[in-house]
């Protein structure tokens, strides 16, 4: 692999890891809200800061 290939792979891996983790967190937040709504019958409030 030429030198720039390693650099591109490194930057793309970083973007994929950070972006993927953020998407995963969003999915977990949606699932928790859906779960709370299903239990209480009313939409979950946004989490308290």
């Amino acid at each position: 692999m030429p030198e720039l290939g390693y650099v591109a792979a490194g930057y793309l891996t970083t973007a994929a890891a950070l972006g993927g983790y953020l998407l995963r967190l969003r999915h977990r937040a949606r699932r928790a809200r859906r779960h709370a709504t299903a239990l209480t019958g009313r939409p979950a409030r946004p989490a308290r800061p």
Binding site: E3, G10, L18, Y21, A32, A36, L39, A47
Partner: protein, 260 residues
């Protein structure tokens, strides 16, 4: 609410999250331009040295995350306040992400420079151990059967596991290593060209903003998941839990016996 708590609430609120996200994106764009276009290639390694601008920030944020886990764990053991447990869990998860990223980026840098993806060098080995310690921390949190026990066990591991962080940092000084010695966090002046140091510091600042953003989002997700778990417990037991707080620590089997 105390002043410090108000400030923390503002920082971790949705508005604070949006501001952090904007700052992180702007920081990353600036860092990408500086590290890929402005900073010169290394005299010996050439273009591949540009991996330093993502590898070093990732390693720094792994250290920072586990320092937060250590402080939060110690604070939990002293105060038994749930918020410290929640902070420790969030920081450990983000720290594992950055440690994994450090190892992968190091392998991508090592192949063209050292001729191998991996070697049992002291720095690489202690970093792999660090990853395993905090993977064990996250696994432990899934194993415990009550919130109190989970918080106590993981806080103990959060304090003890931190021992490996200074070992990782000093490994290149204490033992003969293929990995280069510290160039910035070392006694004396940094041994790196000024333009490279500037690009590196901007990259560290930008990635620290990303880290802060991920940590605040992870904290919010943690609160949502705890609330869902509390409501599930209330629905199962028929006893409402006050103010969305975690239920008092009760052994699950003991509770099942008392309910029967």
């Amino acid at each position: 609410m105390k002043r410090s708590e108000r400030m923390m609430a503002r920082l971790t609120g949705r508005r604070g999250e949006q501001v952090l996200a904007g700052a992180a994106v702007a920081g990353l764009a600036t860092s990408a331009v500086l590290s890929l276009r402005v900073a010169p290639p290394d005299a010996v390694q050439g273009e591949v040295q540009r991996l330093m601008y993502v590898h070093v920030p990732a390693a720094w944020l792994a250290y920072l995350s586990f320092t937060v886990v250590f402080v939060a764990s110690a604070a939990y053991l002293l105060t038994s306040r749930t918020r410290w447990d929640r902070l420790g869990a969030a920081a450990a998860e983000v720290g594992v992400l950055f440690t994994g990223l450090t190892i992968v980026l190091g392998a991508l840098w090592g192949k063209p420079v050292w001729g191998t993806w991996w070697t049992w060098d002291p720095r690489l080995t202690t970093t792999a151990v660090l990853l395993l310690i905090y993977l064990a921390y996250l696994a432990l949190r899934r194993m415990a059967d009550s919130p109190g026990r989970r918080a106590r066990w993981s806080a103990v591991l959060g304090v003890v596991g931190f021992v490996d962080v200074p070992i990782v940092h000093m490994s290149v000084v204490w033992w003969r290593s293929l990995h280069q010695a510290p160039t910035v966090l070392r006694p004396g002046a940094p041994t790196i060209a000024g333009s490279m140091l500037a690009a590196l510091l901007v990259a560290v600042a930008a990635f620290t903003l990303v880290w802060a953003y991920l940590l605040t989002v992870r904290l919010r997700v943690g609160r949502l998941e705890e609330r869902a778990a509390t409501q599930a417990l209330s629905a199962r037991t028929g006893r409402p839990q006050s103010n969305g707080q975690l239920p008092p620590v009760v052994d699950v089997q003991e509770r099942a016996r008392s309910d029967a």
